[in-house]
């Protein structure tokens, strides 16, 4: 009798725990349901592809922030490092293109240099935080200022333009193009279709989605199934215990901050592909704060030791769906600031109310 009661109790408790753990996902589903009724053309594969496509940089920044937050740190420089890599790679591409290099060569050299240079801020952050015990908040804030300054000096406050062709073709391309009953092609539009027929062209799976999927899968695998991931959780859970367990915490943290910076750089380079120009990050953009918000909504704790890549992705999607859905429902765009703030509070209060369930 007693055991029966207990099992029911534990069952309901585990159910509650699953609910509390995945409330963000539930909330996303509820929002999709609501917006499907209120939003014009909200519930269509085109719109969902769009949401993912336009979330690319947030997805990358949030997954980089996930690693840092799990270790109990914070990285406020990602938004500006993203701007740095964007402007740097765009400038190199422009110069090489102007020097009559082939587009493919100038694009690849620009991207690679952008990615490599963006490791440096993370490396410095890591060294400052581990060897010199500078709080992550300060170190990354200072690094953000420095990166932002260098970016603006480089581009003099204007976006970098006159880039080689094909950039946006890659960044905004799709995996499959189908012209019903006529043609199907991969990566490129079918040859020789009339302008009137463009309307009927069905585009499936944006390149950005695949790109995201691959990166996120790798990061998920690293965090969930490797020793590196376990050590990340261990450091966030208890630094002392991690040191005593023989983890080289300094080296690990340096790698984490470098990784974070690298992912921000990746986001910047991808942004060049998506927009076709090198965008600097304005001081009021708050990319990093939005990424952090997504990670927290996804169930991570700023105290460290908690968080999942999948959760952070849901966090990003939640914020983007609110934005997109409210927009398509014809709501004043300023309401979405308020909505994001309220949802963030709900996220953390839920987190606080059910601490032992999670």
């Amino acid at each position: 009798m007693d055991t029966n009661k207990n099992s029911i109790l534990s069952l309901s408790q585990s159910l509650l725990s699953i609910l509390a753990r995945n409330w963000a996902l539930l909330f996303v589903l509820v929002l999709i349901l609501i917006f499907s009724f209120t939003g014009i053309n909200f519930f269509s594969y085109k719109n969902f592809q769009n949401i993912f496509h336009l979330s690319t940089i947030y997805l990358l920044l949030a997954s980089s922030e996930t690693f840092v937050i799990i270790t109990g740190g914070i990285d406020l420089s990602v938004g500006f490092v993203m701007g740095l890599s964007s402007v740097l790679s765009a400038t190199i591409m422009r110069e090489l293109h102007a020097a009559n290099f082939t587009p493919a060569l100038s694009i690849s050299i620009g991207s690679i240099v952008g990615l490599i240079v963006c490791i440096i801020p993370g490396l410095i952050n890591g060294v400052l935080i581990t060897k010199y015990r500078v709080p992550p908040f300060i170190s990354t804030l200072g690094m953000g200022g420095i990166a932002s300054g260098i970016t603006l000096v480089m581009c003099e406050g204007f976006p970098v333009t006159f880039l080689p062709p094909y950039l946006t073709g890659i960044g905004n391309g799709y995996l499959i193009y189908i012209l019903p009953g006529k043609a199907i092609s991969f990566f490129n539009r079918p040859e020789g279709i009339a302008v009137e027929e463009l309307r009927n062209l069905i585009r499936i799976i944006p390149n950005s989605l695949m790109f995201n999927f691959i990166i996120i899968f790798i990061l998920w695998h690293i965090l969930k199934n490797t020793k590196f991931g376990q050590h990340t959780y261990a450091i966030g859970g208890s630094m002392d215990a991690a040191v005593r367990a023989g983890i080289n915490t300094n080296k690990h943290l340096i790698i984490i901050y470098t990784l974070s910076s690298f992912l921000a750089g990746l986001a910047g380079v991808f942004n060049v592909f998506q927009t076709g120009i090198g965008n600097f990050t304005p001081f009021t953009a708050m990319y990093e704060l939005i990424a952090i918000a997504a990670v927290i909504i996804g169930g991570a704790s700023l105290m460290g030791g908690k968080g999942r890549i999948f959760g952070s992705i849901i966090g990003v999607i939640l914020l983007r769906i609110i934005e997109n859905g409210l927009h398509l429902s014809g709501v004043d765009p300023f309401f979405r600031f308020i909505a994001v703030g309220l949802i963030l509070i709900v996220a953390v209060v839920i987190d606080q109310l059910f601490p032992d369930l999670l």
Binding site: I74, L128, Y132, R133, V134, P135, F137, I138, S139, L141, G142, M143, G144, G145, I146, A147, S148, G149, I150, L152, V153, E156, G157, F283, T284, M286, L289, I292, A293, I296, L302, M303, D332, F334, F335, R336, F337, I338, A339, V340, G341, L342, L344, I345, V348, V349, Q352
Partner: protein, 359 residues
């Protein structure tokens, strides 16, 4: 014997280093002023100093707000947008009251009073979230950014507020003492001048008001029970609770105080620029936090003071103004301040270690 002399000499050296560590901010400020006086003509002048003071009020108020919050071990990211929010609310109220046919000065006063009451609400919410619901300050105040930004944009529909009474601008751009030689002397409100008249301005009003606040709250933080409790909570929350401090109420008060300062900053913005803008304070948020940290406060709480924050503010202001007078693009300011910020914390980290190691 020899041992003792060596240790005393070491102690002297340590003392020197720790003194240097403690006072590096003020030394740095003086070096900065000397450097700019040499390389930038016109920097070391009454006018140059006035320009710095005129640009100071927003960073002074926001960093004053952060000083209290950071000493208590928290952080307030919402100050910038609370400032924008209050600038919009006060400008809108004043315009509305003037529209109702009220006297200009009266509508300004009523508008300010109502704004001050509304402006502490975000702080109250922040405080309740942080103290009662145990939401991390970073997240609670970040949410408040979204909410205050959204509301203020809705209030002004993405534009800014016009048609404020001109007297507002005369107060905001006036000085403590305004002298038109041989004609008039006025206090606070800048006089109307004819062409060819020379106007001598002593101490801009926009600096005098924050300075009065700074004097008052430096006293509060240093010499009252309220201030001591703030340090106690930042130093060790558990100990503070055991010492019988009502930590929850105190934290709520701190966040309300922070919001109050941001609100005053927003009202100052209205007087200075004769408009209300939703993103009025967005640029000053980070400057405010950075000034506090450069001044030597610790983000872990328990360390910091209003005077040190003031030095931090002026390090930033002098740097900004000096670079501007040299004709250096403002972008370089970001790099320099980023480097100063990191060095500030590095020095603070290294100087106590110098003492610890020897012990």
């Amino acid at each position: 014997m020899a041992d003792i002399t060596i240790t005393t000499r070491k102690n002297g050296l340590q003392k020197f280093f720790s003194q240097l560590g403690n006072r590096w901010a003020i030394i740095f400020l003086f070096l900065e002023i000397i450097l700019f006086s040499i390389i930038s003509p016109g920097f070391f002048s009454v006018k140059g100093a006035q320009v710095i003071l005129i640009n100071s009020p927003f960073i002074l108020f926001l960093s004053l707000a952060e000083t209290f919050v950071i000493i208590s071990g928290g952080i307030d990211l919402s100050v910038g947008f609370v400032m924008g929010f209050s600038s919009v609310v006060s400008a809108k109220l004043i315009v509305a009251f003037v529209g109702l046919g009220m006297n200009d000065l009266l509508s300004i006063i009523v508008g300010i009073v109502i704004t001050l009451c509304i402006g502490i609400i975000p702080g109250l919410v922040n405080g309740i979230l942080v103290a009662r619901l145990k939401v991390p300050p970073f997240i609670a105040t970040f949410s408040m950014i979204g909410i205050t930004h959204g509301i203020s944009e809705l209030l002004i529909k993405g534009s800014y507020i016009r048609n404020l009474p001109p007297i507002a601008g005369r107060i905001g751009n006036g000085s403590l003492i305004n002298i038109v030689p041989g004609k008039t002397v006025s206090f606070f409100i800048s006089p109307t001048i004819q062409r060819g008249d020379q106007l001598i301005e002593i101490l801009p009003t926009v600096f005098v008001i924050p300075f009065i606040f700074i004097l008052f709250f430096a006293f509060i933080l240093k010499s009252t029970k309220f201030g001591q409790h703030t340090y106690a909570i930042g130093g060790n929350v558990d100990a503070a609770i055991r010492a019988g401090i009502n930590v929850k109420t105190h934290l709520i008060k701190i966040y309300m105080l922070s919001s109050f300062f941001s609100t005053v900053a927003g009202i100052m913005y209205v007087f200075r620029y004769v408009t209300g803008k939703a993103d009025a304070g967005a640029m000053f948020l980070l400057d405010g936090i950075i000034a506090v940290v450069i001044g030597g406060a610790s983000l872990y709480g328990g360390i910091g003071s209003v005077w040190k924050t003031l030095i931090g503010c002026f390090i930033i202001l002098v740097m900004e103004n000096g670079l501007r007078m040299l004709g250096v693009p403002t972008f370089y300011k970001l790099i320099v301040i980023g480097i100063i910020l990191i060095f500030a914390v590095l020095i603070d980290q290294l100087s106590p270690e110098l003492i610890h190691r020897e012990e």
